[in-house]
């Protein structure tokens, strides 16, 4: 448990310098390329010694042996020296970037990855109140988002790769005249987030085949007619163990109860106060680093509020606001770490994590689940 949290404490006095024929002990200076590749212990006594080793190519050999794929199929772990928290490994290479037809209207970040409109203080601070037309547009986007998620979810089976799920999401999205919101959002490379087992969120679809007993979260977002929809669910791949099922059930319960408390005047900070006790009572923990968020013309905007109890988030719900609730619940500790791709968030202890998300609209009397599945409750109370 928590193997990676202690990896940084090398007693530097006993480490010899990696430099060729260098008699010195190394200080605290480490090769940056090795750090990036996850190769441990590449300490040098000085910049000079390091330079000689690189120019003489001896040290560089270490970098190249870490690099190229060895599997004849071309599949490989891009960071073989990285200390993973659990048993899941990425399976690279990623498929080429998928194209979106020119005719489809795109959000402002589609080309350079920078969501410019989201970055204003106003957008991040004050939740928008949508008018009737805007609400109708949100309804349409969210209905499309639900359709896409359900289609992709139906394809989940042992042997299917997350990249194949990405292809389905991408094609079903553009077929509907919509843009897959994750694609190139802050340089995210794919059209959906696929988070398997210990991945909390933002997993990147790759060549790994789903296995019997896995759990996988599909987080679908799309942009249609100027409005984003955002929803996700966690699914079982084949038959899963009891603990995983319990985790999934607990997470769904957290979301459902949180939705039921939404109405004008309800406080955003109270969502977490309701969710955390449910998670705890079920032996689970609530992820802290990721939050719920407003969603409308912007993918991520005010209000942002967490899913854990003790929080200072300002603001009360008002009719016309649209936002997500998306608790990430862990079987073990709440802490998260990131893979070197800077996206994939995993549990620090490698235990499993589940998540459910819906896009909600505050109505005059309660809340409407804009992304509700057909067989689930849409209006509260």
């Amino acid at each position: 448990m928590t193997a990676t949290t202690t990896t940084t404490t090398t007693t530097t006095t006993e480490v010899p310098c990696m430099g060729v024929d260098c008699p010195n002990t190394a200080g605290k200076l480490e090769c940056p390329t090795c750090v990036k590749l996850g190769i441990k212990g590449s300490f040098f006594c000085s910049q000079d010694c390091f330079k000689r080793s690189l120019l003489g190519k001896t040290h560089k050999l270490l970098h190249t042996t870490a690099g190229p794929p060895v599997d004849p199929s071309g599949e490989h772990d891009p960071w073989p020296f990285f200390t993973y928290t659990g048993s899941l490994r990425p399976a690279y290479p990623l498929s080429p970037r998928r194209e979106v037809p020119e005719s489809i209207p795109k959000p402002d970040y589609w080309k350079d990855g920078i969501p410019k409109s989201e970055r204003s203080f106003e957008v991040q601070r004050n939740p928008r109140i949508l008018n009737k037309q805007e609400i109708e547009a949100m309804r349409v986007s969210c209905r499309l988002g639900r359709e896409v998620l359900d289609i992709a979810a139906a394809a989940i089976a042992p042997g299917v790769t997350t990249d194949e799920l990405d292809k389905i999401v991408h094609e079903e999205t553009i077929k509907r005249g919509a843009y897959p919101s994750p694609l190139n959002y802050r340089d995210f490379p794919k059209s959906v987030c696929t988070s398997v087992n210990e991945v909390i969120c933002h997993g990147i679809p790759d060549q790994r085949k789903l296995r019997e007993g896995d759990i996988v979260n599909l987080d679908v977002s799309l942009y249609y007619n100027g409005f984003h929809a955002d929803l996700n669910e966690t699914y079982a791949v084949g038959k899963i163990d009891e603990e995983s099922q319990h985790l999934i059930d607990t997470t769904r319960k957290c979301l459902d109860e949180a939705i039921a408390m939404c109405k004008p005047g309800a406080l955003f900070r109270d969502i977490g106060k309701l969710i955390e006790p449910i998670a705890k009572a079920n032996g689970c923990s609530v992820v802290r680093s990721y939050t719920a968020h407003g969603v409308n013309q912007n993918f991520h905007c005010a209000p942002t509020f967490p899913h854990y109890a003790k929080n200072k988030s300002p603001g009360a719900m008002k009719p016309g606001m649209t936002f997500t609730i998306e608790p990430m619940i862990n079987s073990g500790v709440y802490n998260d770490e990131h893979w070197p791709d800077n996206w994939t968030a995993v549990t620090r202890d490698g235990k499993r994590s589940a998540q459910f998300e819906e896009t909600l609209l505050v109505t005059e009397t309660g809340v409407e689940v804009l992304t509700a599945r057909k067989d689930r409750k849409r209006f509260y109370p």
């Binding site: 940084t8 480490e30 120019l55 204003s120 959002y185 995210f188 802290r288 680093s289 998306e326």
Partner: protein
């Protein structure tokens, strides 16, 4: 992989085995241009041999817009410049601000700092930055806000704080309003009367703040670092002792509060205080309701009249009061606030206090009266 003609990268300094669970305190250093912030910084750095102190220079005011910035990391081995990088994983649907996330990432890469000093520009308002770091603490952040230190020039301080120009906001007032401790610097250059005027003015604008006279920034570091100003109760009793002075306004006959005036303009920074007797559960929840309405929506709740929309700007609020035999502390900066139960102090206060510092409420009479009535506290 690297080519021969490519530059040889700089070696990285490995993390030095600090406990991951130790959070790093961050102190915001504010004050007018020329008040002596840099002198104080240098003093702290030389006084603190062996500690790794990261000094982040200014321009954090608009943190939402940071893409890549540099910061200076000072330790006893010298000053280095580091580039702050953004981590995608920390940004997307995370309230963790890009600035805080970038500092954390740098610490992961370069080893933890023992302390972070954030020096704002002389014209910056530290409020939003303080609020940002304070709110970020919840996110299992590696950094916590320790406090805001304001340096004021004892010779020119009064002139600077009293300066008014049409359509211009005197940030010096906001800096003082937001401060958890004030250094009255350059006392060796000031006349006794200058010293008295500046300390009187400080007490008027921010009656809750302790202040220390200094020369060339030399101060016992315990007075300014490691305050835990946002979580510790021990700050508050000393803070409120200066509030025993009743209102000096001849027109005001309400002994339940004290308030102060700056130079009479309504848009000036001023403060007001309400004495709060032990509250019952209903009053406690009404206090919370009143404060959130005021801080989030700028609306004064009234019992016998419609809600009152205001254009107040509450920069800071603090309070200590009891309810049901328990003691509570209120802390607020801008629209972020927290009411927490605290334990410890033996002499449970029979009379609590709630203080507001901000702009636009003048002598604060309306605010205080509304709160008093909303809590159903009898006027003496």
């Amino acid at each position: 992989m690297m080519e021969d003609d490519e530059e040889i990268p700089e070696l990285l300094e490995a993390p030095t085995g600090h406990d991951y669970n130790v959070r790093v305190p961050l102190t915001i250093l504010t004050g007018y241009l020329g008040a002596g912030k840099t002198t104080l910084l240098n003093y702290i750095l030389t006084e603190n041999h062996g500690r790794r102190i990261a000094v982040i220079m200014n321009e954090f005011a608009d943190t939402a817009d940071i893409e890549s910035r540099t910061i200076n990391v000072s330790s006893d081995t010298g000053l280095t410049e580091e580039v702050l990088e953004l981590a995608n994983g920390c940004l997307c649907c995370s309230v963790k601000d890009s600035g805080a996330a970038a500092i954390e990432k740098l610490m992961q890469k370069k080893g933890k700092f023992d302390y972070i000093l954030l020096e704002t520009t002389g014209v910056a308002d530290p409020g939003p930055i303080a609020a940002m770091f304070w709110q970020n603490e919840e996110l299992a952040s590696d950094i916590y806000l320790d406090g805001v230190v304001c340096v004021i020039d004892s010779v020119f301080g009064v002139k600077q704080l009293e300066e008014r120009r049409e359509g211009w906001v005197n940030e010096g007032l906001r800096q003082l309003a937001c401060a958890d401790v004030v250094l009255v610097n350059k006392t060796d250059l000031a006349t006794p009367s200058q010293l008295t005027s500046v300390t009187t003015l400080i007490a008027q604008i921010n009656p809750t703040v302790p202040h220390f006279p200094t020369q060339r920034g030399m101060v016992t570091l315990d007075h300014i670092l490691g305050l835990r100003a946002y979580e510790r109760l021990s700050m508050l009793p000393t803070v409120f002792t200066s509030l025993g002075v009743p209102c000096e306004d001849d027109h005001c006959h309400d002994a339940s509060h004290v308030h102060s005036h700056t130079s009479g303009h309504l848009d000036d920074v001023s403060s007001c205080v309400l004495k709060v007797p032990p509250l019952d559960a209903v009053q406690l929840s009404r206090l919370d309701e009143f404060i959130r309405s005021l801080l989030w929506d700028n609306v004064l709740l009234r019992v016998d009249a419609a809600e009152l929309k205001t254009d107040f700007e509450i920069l800071r609020c603090k309070g200590i009061f009891s309810s049901d035999g328990k003691q509570f502390v209120l802390q607020g900066v801008r629209n972020i606030y927290d009411i927490n139960e605290v334990n410890g102090e033996e002499d449970a206060m029979a009379n609590g206090k709630v203080a507001f510092i901000g702009r636009g409420f003048g002598d604060g009479r309306v605010l205080i009266q509304c709160l008093q009535q909303y809590l159903n506290i009898a006027s003496p």
